[in-house]
Symmetry: C3
Subunit: 269 residues, 3 copies
């Protein structure tokens, strides 16, 4: 079965609306996430103090929360902000970086998961660990394929009533009912830090104002996959990949996106 999904229409809406995206992300990802969001046409803001996080979340068009570098004040602010986003009807995205690595990560992720994110984005190890709420994976990098996390992703999507994206050589997106597989990207992408983290912000940008969270999440990953493929053609290694990727995201047009995209959609098993 193939459902009609038009990522280019979602990209066009993002370009027209320039959504304000509130990010509480890790200290490694801050700069690249801001640049990725600017390149694709959103307006990023990083606001993490408990004194203002909830106020700002209600003001922004969407929120992304990433547990990559935690500390108690930040976790409290993440919980405040996610609660405020929900109360204001704004979508929010959870990125469970290395959730299986320590007890503190599992507990922090559980607090956030209880606030029903509209979308979750992680690698296979993270999605499996989050679904099982048990230890697994050591660091932030995953060697498992996204496909190996399909069952976990579907279960998690049904649990939150939202979408789950698993990134890898082939990316998966599911809302528990449908499954999309997105081909593309480039082998250098896992060698560039925080590209995955920044993608979670991009998912938030596409969710802002989107009616269909599954389609919006697929559109975000589609743009990343095509821009990554294009950047790979101009990169001599992981260092030159990042500038090329930002240039490609910035230049990405509906025609190129549609022509390049390799997307399959099916019913969830």
């Amino acid at each position: 079965m193939t459902l009609a999904i038009d990522p280019a229409a979602h990209l066009a809406r993002l370009h027209q609306t320039t959504p304000l995206i509130h990010n509480i992300t890790n200290l490694v990802a801050m700069n690249s996430m801001a640049n990725v969001l600017l390149a694709i046409g959103a307006s990023p803001a990083m606001v993490h103090a408990r004194e203002e996080a909830a106020e700002f979340a209600a003001l922004a068009d969407a929120l992304s929360v990433n547990i990559g570098t935690l500390s108690p004040h930040w976790v409290d602010a993440m919980v405040d902000a996610a609660g405020a986003a929900r109360a204001a009807g704004k979508p929010w995205v959870l990125d469970p970086v290395a959730v299986g690595a320590t007890r503190y990560r599992r507990e922090s992720a559980a607090r956030l998961l209880a606030l029903s994110p509209d979308a979750i984005r992680g690698n296979a190890s993270e999605i499996i660990a989050l679904a099982e709420q048990q230890a697994g994976g050591r660091g932030v990098d995953s060697t498992a394929t996204a496909e190996s996390a399909l069952g976990a992703a579907i279960a998690l999507a049904r649990h939150i009533g939202g979408t789950v994206a698993v990134t890898g050589e082939v990316d998966l997106v599911t809302d528990g009912r449908r499954v999309a597989r997105i081909h593309g990207g480039h082998f250098l992408m896992p060698r560039v830090t925080t590209l995955g983290c920044a993608l979670s912000g991009v998912v938030a940008a596409f969710l802002a104002g989107g009616d269909d969270r599954f389609e919006a999440t697929v559109a975000a990953l589609a743009c990343y996959a095509v821009a990554g493929e294009l950047a790979g053609e101009n990169a001599g290694g992981p260092g030159s990949f990042m500038p090329a990727f930002l240039d490609a995201l910035h230049a990405l047009e509906a025609g190129t996106l549609t022509a390049r995209l390799r997307l399959e959609v099916s019913d969830a098993p």
Copy 2:
């Protein structure tokens, strides 16, 4: 009326003295601000703990403070450092990022404003919000022209007895008595995160040892405008702009600066 301002002389002094610039800036800007300051010939240091911020501010040649990502300990350290800089006779610069967005930002900015910065650098929304001490603007990006903030900038400059720089397509600098308009830069600059934040550090670097704060601030913005214009000629998008901009700042010479600069100076209305 045109006053004689020679930005190239200020750049030459910076190159000769390699001023040590103490920055308490936001978490997104840290890396790019350090690279911008190194590229132009200053020596950057980021020191934010209350246990050492005042001691370091007295040691450095100038201080820049940016409220982009706040938390209580940081705000206290900013206040300590600004007070220490003043006590030691060192200039300091305030960058009021997104000051209109939340109550916490307005209150933090008010505490800092009371310590009379030698210069303030922001976009039009921020300068207007700071001058009016009231809510305005949502995020960190501004759509207003710098010119729309002229009245606010002049009022603010007179209030602090220092200079105010408003960046936009055409930049403004005023000390409440004179107004400089600086043309140049590139349309990609607002699509690269923290270029504005880093400029506030550059203003601090030019204020270090400068006799005339208005001229020093104009010189800082002049270098940015010309380097931005040069970088734009070699950039294929916002990703390749940043390396090109750092290369251009590093290579910037008196002759190029003077030949390229488009600067108008007039009396304040």
Copy 3:
């Protein structure tokens, strides 16, 4: 006297093992350190909360600690993590950024030094200040040659029973018994922020699983020197240097490393 050191063998082992490197580093260096570690073939993770730092240090293959941007919670977590690394038999590296600049830095460094790092990496000013435990140097940049810190480095290496690396135009490594001098690199490297900080992470990556800490430290600096030299051939300034450097680190092979390396090893005086 020339001892047989084969950095290429150390690089090959790193490529085969992809060690997980736990870094508690400064806020400026986070992103570039992660990219440098990914480029050379390690798996970086930044974990600084006291709630998880010790647990993670025991899990990782090596730890690097950098005092560039301090605050009390972070210093406590650094001490916890270094203690846990020692208890688990994992090597750890100390980077004493600007240790001479403030009392807080000297005290924090003293707490860490008491936990016997396996290696220390700094510039000449930092190594001298750490060895003398007294004030010296203002900022993070050093104008002294590495050679001027030879005596301090040897004393410090004997004190910790580990290796000390002093970076400069010519780099020094000593374990108190032997001294290696490594030529190479590029004059632009001090104009790119946090390249030195990232090198301390690379030293940790080479120490992971290495039997001989002196050889492993030399191997880390050898890769940096050769990659820096190669990057310099393709860089138009400090902005384009960083992407070129990451590309060069990623592409670095045994043959190139061995052919390009200029290394002298002698007995310590």
